[in-house]
């Protein structure tokens, strides 16, 4: 019962947060100079003020902001997210069309960075802890520093030039081969190949973070008394690390992975741009440049909901890993 009411109260807060985000975004975007009508007229090289007026009427931009807001909120409650007048498609369709690509990229980058990050972190900590192969620790830490400091777009372009142009191992752009007519496993393999470079570039930075984080928190835990006790009792290094150290060192990693998932959507804009990945990151960027209000708000709604959900999941994971963590009431 207590668990359930806790969940409900958390959900309630989450909905409130999303609502506030929508509200703030609604006003923020209108603070930017220019509106969709002006931009569309500009694109057409138009010299007809009536045309701009007509567009404004069409978009409802001639109405007071309050009315526009009420209309929008009312629409959202009825799952009508509005219409992108620029693309002449419903916002929900556009987003649903592009969301899977971003989710795929995010999940792949997330798994890539967590798995490799924790793995190398443990490896480095172990090397240092046991005092054998300390060169491995230094090597891992140096590479991480490098990845941490390298700009994402530069890494992306470099990897395209090396793996795609020079070696010709991996495709340079897109999510799948156009017109190859692949199906079944052949298509999965095709998409997987396309996924490699964007995943690595999107995940490399976070992987470096996980390595540092895992290593530091492992070394921290390794100095604890209970670890010493375990060693005194004659437990093997592998067992101690798995059973006593890693488990206790995981909490900061979970905290950080919650943050990472939230940030991935932002980082994806860049990766999607460089690799021509058809996700919502770019949809958002284009919508912003074109002042496509409805579409932009729709994307914000989706991404903020995603962040809120990830945070909820992080909270729940804490309690699962360490039952001592209680709701701070």
């Amino acid at each position: 019962m207590k668990q359930l009411s806790l969940l409900i109260s958390k959900l309630g807060k989450a909905v409130l947060v999303v609502f506030c985000v929508v509200l703030v975004n609604f006003f923020l975007i209108r603070l930017a100079p220019g509106d969709p009508a002006a931009i569309m007229a500009g694109e057409a090289g138009a010299s007809d003020p009536n045309f701009v007026l007509q567009l404004r009427q069409q978009f409802g931009l001639d109405q007071p902001v309050g009315v526009q807001l009420m209309k929008y909120l009312n629409g959202i409650l009825h799952f009508d997210w509005g219409y992108s007048y620029r693309m002449k498609v419903s916002v929900l369709d556009l987003i649903l069309d592009r969301l899977p690509a971003t989710l795929l990229l995010m999940v792949a980058a997330f798994i890539f960075s967590v798995v490799l990050g924790v793995f190398f972190g443990v490896l480095a900590a172990k090397a240092r802890y046991t005092g054998r192969r300390t060169w491995m620790d230094s090597a891992i830490v140096s590479v991480c520093l490098l990845l941490y400091a390298t700009p994402l777009f530069w890494l992306s372009l470099l990897s395209i030039i090396f793996f795609s142009v020079y070696l010709d191992w991996l495709p340079a752009f897109g999510m799948e081969s156009v017109g190859a007519g692949l199906a079944g496993w052949a298509r999965v393999r095709d998409i997987a190949l396309h996924l490699v470079l964007p995943t690595v570039t999107l995940g490399a930075f976070y992987m470096a973070m996980y390595v540092r984080l895992t290593r530091a928190s492992m070394l921290d835990v390794m100095g604890m008394d209970y670890v010493k006790t375990a060693r005194a009792k004659g437990a093997g290094t592998a067992y101690i690390i798995r059973r006593h150290v890693l488990r206790n060192a995981l909490l900061p990693i979970v905290t950080f992975s919650g943050l990472q998932l939230g940030q991935l959507a932002g980082g994806a804009v860049l990766t999607e741009t460089v690799f021509g990945w058809p996700g919502i990151g770019r949809l958002m960027f284009d919508a912003l440049m074109q002042r496509d209000y409805q579409l932009l708000l729709g994307v914000f709604l989706v991404t903020s909901t995603m962040v809120v959900i990830f945070n909820l999941l992080t909270d729940l994971t804490y309690r699962f890993i360490d039952p001592r963590v209680q709701h701070g009431s």
């Binding site: 100079p33 002006a38 694109e43 090289g45 045309f51 058809p278 770019r282 440049m289």
Partner: protein
Amino acid sequence: MKLVQPLCHQGTKPSPSLISRLLAKAAIASATFATAAMMTAAHAQTAGGTLYAIVQPEPPILVLGLNQQSPTQYVGSKIYEGLLTYSDKLEPKPGLAKSWDISADGLTYTFHLQTGVTWHDGKPFTADDVVFTADKFLRKVHPRVRPILDRYVASITALDAGTVQFKLKERFAPFIYLFGTDNILVVPKHIYDGTDFATNPANQHPIGTGPFMFKEWKRGSDIVLEKNPHYWKQGLPYLDRIVFHVIPDAASRSVAFEKGDVQVLRGGDIDNVDVARLKATAGVSNTTKGTEMYSTITSLVMNERKPPFDNAKVRQAVMYALNRKFIVDHIFFGIGKVATSPISSTTLFHEANLPVYNYDVKKARALIKESGVDVGKYPIRILSYPYGSAWDRLGEYTRQALTQLGFNVDIDATDAGGWAQRVGNFDFDLTFHFTDQFGDPAIGVSRLFLSSNIVKGSPFVNNEGYRNPEVDRLFTEASSAPTTEKRQELYSQVQKILVDDVANGFLFENQNVTLFKNNVHNLITTGVGTNSNFESVYLSK
């Protein structure tokens, strides 16, 4: 001569009767020359294959008319057709109209349509479609065509299923240039009539009469067009498919071309610095042809309502202070040509004999002194033109050049939306733009200088606030003058005045370099370049 060759293509020796029949046909159809030239080319063609290109940025929609951006035009021009097409000399050529007559008073345009044309959904194309499109559809949705239709066109009627007549209220000489896919293209009446054009579900599956049909659009990824097997020109198109990739990053686009994933790059697809590099690559051809219809010019726009730019001498000083050769060579990597006039040298009615503003800082300083304006007293801001880093450099260079003359200059950065709004509201001191000329000064040039076009709220009109009754008169007379000679005379006068006054600072004529792999043929054959319908493009092995 050319008439004989298509028969050889079929492998039979032409019989005299066949030739005479063909000749008879030729006498009737003014389309003959174009068709014959095309069929000559057919001689060596290989049919089939997929052409990979890039569309950049991704168009919002593919229905021409509802959107007129360059990417929409690039893809849409393969799907939709206009009544005419235009050669690189800007002569009208048959499109959906096989021939046309213009009455002696220049007020009646009669178009005779091709026979056997169908829409992609199988319905026949008729004169009603043309009337609907021009009279209802475009009048509502097309920001450039609509003011022209409203002002000049009295009536549009279908005389019969194969004939359309446009009657004008007053003579408008460049009217014949409005029938390409940029302007009066044709959309299917049976799909749009009686609907809300903007929200019609058919917008997601465009239907035209062109050589390629819409197949699929994965937003953010690619657009696929497929050969129209029932295209009204026998044996065309050659390509089976055209794939337009959406690759948002310029560096990635040039990599895609280098890697061979795409075979065609249009001007603007990649940065100028990469153009210079890729041009020199083996197996790559390039051309700057195919932009005659647009003949884009880049101008420096000065707000002439207030000091210091309300003084023509100051504006002239600015022109002398800018080294335009340097701008072309070093900021735009040699892609472009110093402009001498508001009417580009690649379009009609360009006047070659005009005063030239050579780079001369001394003269610039002298002119400022002469003007009596203390330019340092009026701090000015350059509103940067938000279309990439070259334009930022142009802004910085201009700032540098003007600072040397004693101006007090700052730069404002902005994005496309902010730029359009500020320029539309005359809220700027100095900025740049590049504008297309669309074949005739009356369509693409006069809009920038007519005092009647000083309207708040829209960019790409007379935003600088230039007012000159003489210029107004000359432009107006020239647009309806009866002969080409008379028009040339009037346009020559107007160019002289505009250049003397520095109505805008005419910086350079933009060039667009189209890069393509050597196995791509017939890519650029008209004055609209890659915005043609690609019916005769083919790939060699």
